[in-house]
């Protein structure tokens, strides 16, 4: 019975391809990083940072260039989870947790639902516009400018320390009480918006029926 479903084989293909690509990309990088670490050129933290960066950037590049919508969404998961790891490197566990909960648990599911609902039939969909070279130029220019700004700037004396959970909570719910309330308005609005847009067809239908 399950053999008739196309799903498992397709999943196998995704997992095998993804795994192969992952091993081929990550393997050499891992080896290089571990070698550098052995030679004491970089610290353990930096090894983790570079690994996470590769995941983040690789996922992002895949998400904006793959032609399959679902693959794009899945690559976004890699990016966002990698970003959570970056937050850990930045000593903010709380935000890493929030990132995983909100994005992994909410946003990704929402995006995939969106894909399912809008791509129900297999229309040939145009994914990329004709202005790809232009887009590439602009993207490369932005990358170049901001990387240069980050590297050339002198950020002065830097100190980093861990923000304890209780302090973060005090700051968030004490000093930032008003923003929290405004965000409540915002969620209210987003909820209303999702409702009025989703409810529309039914609403119109019931009105017609009433007439």
């Amino acid at each position: 019975m399950f053999a008739r479903l196309p799903l498992p084989s397709q999943f196998d293909r995704i997992i095998i391809t993804g795994g192969l690509v992952g091993v081929m990309v990550m393997g050499p990088i891992l080896i290089a990083l571990v070698t550098l670490y052995m030679m004491s050129r970089i610290t353990g933290g930096e090894v983790v940072f570079y690994l996470a960066s590769v995941v983040v950037l690789g996922g992002a590049i895949a998400a904006v260039s793959l032609s399959n919508l679902v693959h794009s969404a899945l690559s976004l998961i890699a990016t966002l989870m990698g970003v959570a790891a970056i937050y850990l490197m930045l000593l903010s566990e709380f935000l890493a947790l929030v990132q995983i909960l909100v994005y992994g648990g909410g946003v990704i599911i929402l995006v995939i639902f969106g894909l399912m609902l809008t791509n129900a039939q297999d229309d040939p969909v145009v994914l990329d516009g004709s202005q790809k070279p232009f887009a590439f130029g602009v993207g490369a220019m932005i990358c170049g400018l901001f990387v240069a700004a980050a590297l050339l700037a002198q950020w002065g004396p830097l100190e980093a320390n861990l923000v304890p959970f209780p302090d973060f909570g005090k700051r968030l719910f004490g000093d930032y009480g008003l923003p929290i309330i405004i965000v409540a308005f915002l969620l209210d609005i987003a909820f209303t918006g999702a409702l009025v847009n989703a409810r529309r067809a039914e609403h119109a239908g019931s009105k017609e029926a009433a007439k």
């Binding site: 983040v56 929030v98 969909v125 973060f168 915002l186 409702l195 989703a198």
Partner: protein
């Protein structure tokens, strides 16, 4: 300690990639995904600056939290509108929705 520049370079690259996606993609949902990538870059920047340059007040950490919340709400809102457009036109591509000229 990992230098601040590393995080800033990562976030700059991420922002550029997201911007490329916004310009190159035609599917509304893929544009949304690209915007999420840009917002992730923003959050990295805020947290990096909060940790390294503002460790006493860490307003950037709070800011990043709000950015995450707003981004999530925005996805919900935008997907609602995408679904509605899809119901009306059977398309989720921005260039096929062109009864209004750009």
């Amino acid at each position: 300690m990992i230098p601040l520049q590393n995080f800033l370079v990562l976030s700059a690259l991420l922002f550029g990639i997201g911007f490329y996606g916004v310009l190159a993609r035609r599917s509304a949902i893929l544009i949304l995904i690209s915007v999420e990538i840009m917002l992730a870059a923003v959050a990295i920047n805020f947290i990096a600056f909060a940790t390294y340059r503002d460790p006493k007040a860490f307003s950037g950490l709070v800011f990043a939290l709000f950015v995450i919340a707003v981004a999530a709400a925005e996805v919900g809102l935008a997907l609602g509108i995408v679904l509605r457009l899809f119901r009306e036109r059977r398309t989720a591509n921005v260039d096929e929705a062109s009864s209004l000229k750009w």
